[in-house]
Amino acid sequence: MGKTHKISCAGFGGQGVMSMGQLLTYAGMIDGKEVSWVPAYGPEMRGGTANCSVIVSDTPVGSPIFETGITTAVVMNLPSFHKFVPKVASGGSIFVNSSIVNEKVDRDDVNVYYIPVNDLANELGNAKLINIIMLGAVIEIDKIVESESILKAFLKVFGDNKAKLIPINREALAKGAEVAKTLKK
């Protein structure tokens, strides 16, 4: 049996964590994988944290939900850091938005990547790109989907009329990948 990626993306509302998950999902389908996306929903979302669970797998998705056993965690803020770090499977990856999260992961059975996405986005001159930059890092490391598939997915998720944003998003993905490469273990 092939590989099953169990990805959690978490952060504040507004950081684009939900669409990060959707982009992975769509890209997974484009790459011919079995996929699912599940948002956490609830009133605690009111200005609070948001997160979603994504599966990208070679085999049909049974349970679309996983409490633990996360293979890839993206934590964009401190509450998410506290919530998700313990749920990552041994050998999994954790991507930390180190622009905001100052703490360090206190586990040695996981691979941790600190990506200062807010700073990187500012470098690109567009604070909204933090999630795309993070995605670039994630797929560079964990090889969940193809980078080009993310860009195709972008048009699916945000509509074809957003085509003009493709170049800047491509740049953001590359930026994330680039930083990730320097951190690769």
């Binding site: 504040f12 200005g47 609070g48 803020n77 401190l78 509450p79 905001i100």
Partner: protein
């Protein structure tokens, strides 16, 4: 010492800026230096001397962040 002391519960402030807009003396602003756990920059007052104690900020604050003390 200023006539009034306005304090903000910075941990709980949600940075909504209603107090900022309400202040007739325009002395309140969000503090970009601090990000609280919930991710907000809390409100604060730089020049407390200008405060006239009108309580407009506190009346507009939805989260009871503001306490005002009159220093007699």
């Amino acid at each position: 010492m200023s006539k009034f002391t306005v304090t903000f519960n910075e941990k709980e402030c949600k940075g909504c800026e209603l107090c900022v807009t309400a202040c007739p003396k325009n002395i309140i602003s969000l503090n970009p230096e601090i990000t609280n756990d919930a991710g907000y920059n809390p409100a604060s007052i730089a020049n407390m001397e200008n405060c006239i104690g009108c309580q407009s900020c506190a009346r507009m604050c939805p989260d009871c962040i503001i306490t005002i003390v009159k220093n007699d």
